[in-house]
Amino acid sequence: MTSAPTQSAPVEPDPTPAGDPPLQRILIATGRVARHAGLPVVIALLVGAVVLLATGNDPIAVYGRLATEAFGTPSRINATLAATTPILFTAIAAAFAYRAGVFTVGVEGSFVLGGLTAAVIGANMGGFPPVVAVILPLLGATLAGGLVAAVPAVLRAVWSVDEVVTTLMFNFIVAGLAGWAVQSFFQERGQANSATAYVAENAELPALAPPGQTSWALIIGLLLLIGYAVWMRRSTLGFEFRAVGSAPRFSTAQGLRVRTVLLTALLGAGLIGGLGGGSHALGIVHRYSEGFSASFGFTGIAIALLARFNPIGILVGAILFGALNAAGATVQLFINLPVQLIDILEGTVMIFAVAVFAFPRLSKRWAARSERRRP
């Protein structure tokens, strides 16, 4: 009876179980990222070209100059990588949460509080042995970043409170809090703007190729990226992240750990953002000062979306934005270029990255809204 009708076995060639060769996988992933990210980037370049033409510049010449300023010499590459470092962290943080379908915008706040915490601890590391002097501030920064995300995480996981609203609120809270704390407690005397004291020398993350600014923070970021990739692919919780992010009802019905996933996603993004802020403080700025984060948290969101959370895409995206920032800073020395052009380019890429990703969701919301106008 049990003679199963030999129903069509798997089709022709041997079904490649779960793993194609790694190189091939990387190529496929890269291709996919290029497809998603290509459009926003191309549109941004076109918009930029229009602006350039309108302001009497030759787009090709300007773009050429930007490329040389970003990658032309070892020292320019170093500058690009230095600019890449903070947004690499924030992009990983955002991608980590988004994989689970959790749309946090709170990485910015975690980054800021992490930076402040690391700067304050780092300034008091004078007598400590070098490794400890680095690890303690980074640890503090990471925890601080997690702290910023804790309340939204609990609200989301337990009471399903929308994380966009709560994390945004915490960004404001942190921004106010940080400014106030610096002015009241940590203000370095003799500094015009509000800034903390410089960290002790042994608490600095050393530069990789002095005098260039790129530091060990980049190495930490790259390790983190690899960890992110492996963890998502190979860990059980990473598996559940992907499942919850792509099919929430399915995950619930299958008894996956939905709550744990939501909680971990928000907390994890905060921890990573905090570590990013700490690394930025110890590696580049060497203190905390007003304007510590040039909206790195939000650039990270754009990169994560552009990359569709893919690790290689995150790296490429971070370098792209890093290059724009680095080149933008110096290109005006050579040609008469509206400073805002760089902002326009970045802004356009971001807008389209978000649009390409979010449009399907938005149209659903609009549909829901028009329900109220039902006849």
Partner: protein
Amino acid sequence: MSSTSTASVPGSGPAAIRCRIGARGVSRSFGPVRANVDVTLSVRPGTVHAVVGENGAGKSTLMRILYGLDQPDSGHVVIDDEEIALTSPRAAIARRIGLVQQELAIIPELSLLENLVLGEEPVRFGRIDWATALRRAEELSASVGVDIDWKAGAALTSIAIQQQVEILRLVYRGADVLILDEPTAVLAPAQAEELLRLLSSLRDAGRTVIFISHKLDEVVGVADHITVLRSGRTITEIARGEIDREGLAALIVGDSEVAERSVSRGDPGETVLVVEGVSAKDDRAVLRLDDVSFEVRSGEILGVAAVAGNGQEELAEVLIGIRGAASGDIRLDGASIGRASIRKRRLAGLGYVSADRKHEGLALGLSLADNSIATPALHGLARGGWLGPRRVAERVKEVLDRAAVRYGSSSDPASSLSGGNQQRVVLGRETIGNPRVLVASQPTRGVDVRGIGYIHELLRRARDEGAAIVLFSEELDELRELSDRIVVLHRGQVAGMLPGEASRSEIGALMLGNHSPEDDNPDADVPDDPTPGHPRSPRGGETV
């Protein structure tokens, strides 16, 4: 050729047109999978044309090509006897062709009326003219003899009504060829009949209908012509009356044997699942389950029979824990699980085949591999929180082979599988870990003739391995073949418990709430059509 109703085709040009829509030599491959191979199809205007074939035979692929959603690697779509290249659905709509895909595209947040006119709202003074929209909608439903409350929110109406609205939406947009991919798969028998009547009246009004179905009775009964696909190839075309159900089944499967659908009973052991006085409410706080009690033993299949909307969906949800019980308790091997989380229940050995394959049964965007292992027992494949790729690959292969899934690569997304093969993935996954209890809801929905036999075999195997199975099905014959006992629900209460050998009329009478069939329902072999007037699906009544 000349069907009875060709004469009245409005606007389809000279009566000389022989092929309103079709395919000539169409081939389409997805990597190694040859979904369509040199397919030929010719649909005469003003007829109902059925396309049948096994799961993965290439039916949906062909329909997508006819609608311009997909392009053939070679060959042509034929419209009005003319070979043309359909590059997009827009081009198809311009040729008055419409498609309802296998999965419904109704937007639940909108009203039925909004769903109907979406994208083509009548406008007056720059605003949507809802009065006109409503009038047109009512004319439309009246013209084909269906009764729809257009103002109801889509989420609150039954799937049968949503299905009708999807079809009428095509008509509203001026489609004259209606392509329907398995429109009756998710419907209860009575609802399916109503839908088929709708198709016939559309045909009588001169429209051309193509539909796919695995329910051969309805194909033989309704279609003017039938095209059979097998392994992506056209096997033959048959006219109405030339073939019966069995002949058609033989054509569909080819030389291979259809396992004789057989009856075999289990050998029940100790009591495993105890349901005790369970009551539950639906999303609108209406009582749907009222003090339901029963027991299921190891090695036993308990069938649940009920007319759609009498509490069976809630019962399945309460058993697995998706819906909380308002009162009562559930015990598994003596331990109370009535208040336990889904996860706890699953870890205690509860398997679940959801009737909602697209949302609950599978994560369509994830790979087959991911779908095959997505259970709490996932951790059995893990060491210290990490999944070993080799162990995972082995398990994936085991799951997919167990259910004889037809697939390309296990890294393909589940969405790339044909509908019936998707169902098999679910069955394979849920039966593999020797579940103590298996809650199986509509397990053969959308599955082909041979696949049904195969899934029945899987269920029996799970039973023989000691599982206590609760089987929900809209097919009474399926229940009678598989069940050791059948519990009948009526208005959320247990109307009776029958042996698996019970006749259709006995079951049917209880489903209608008649406790003594002999007395007041002498000629009651009607269980397939017991509805009108009864509550609809849980999400449902048509009115808010």
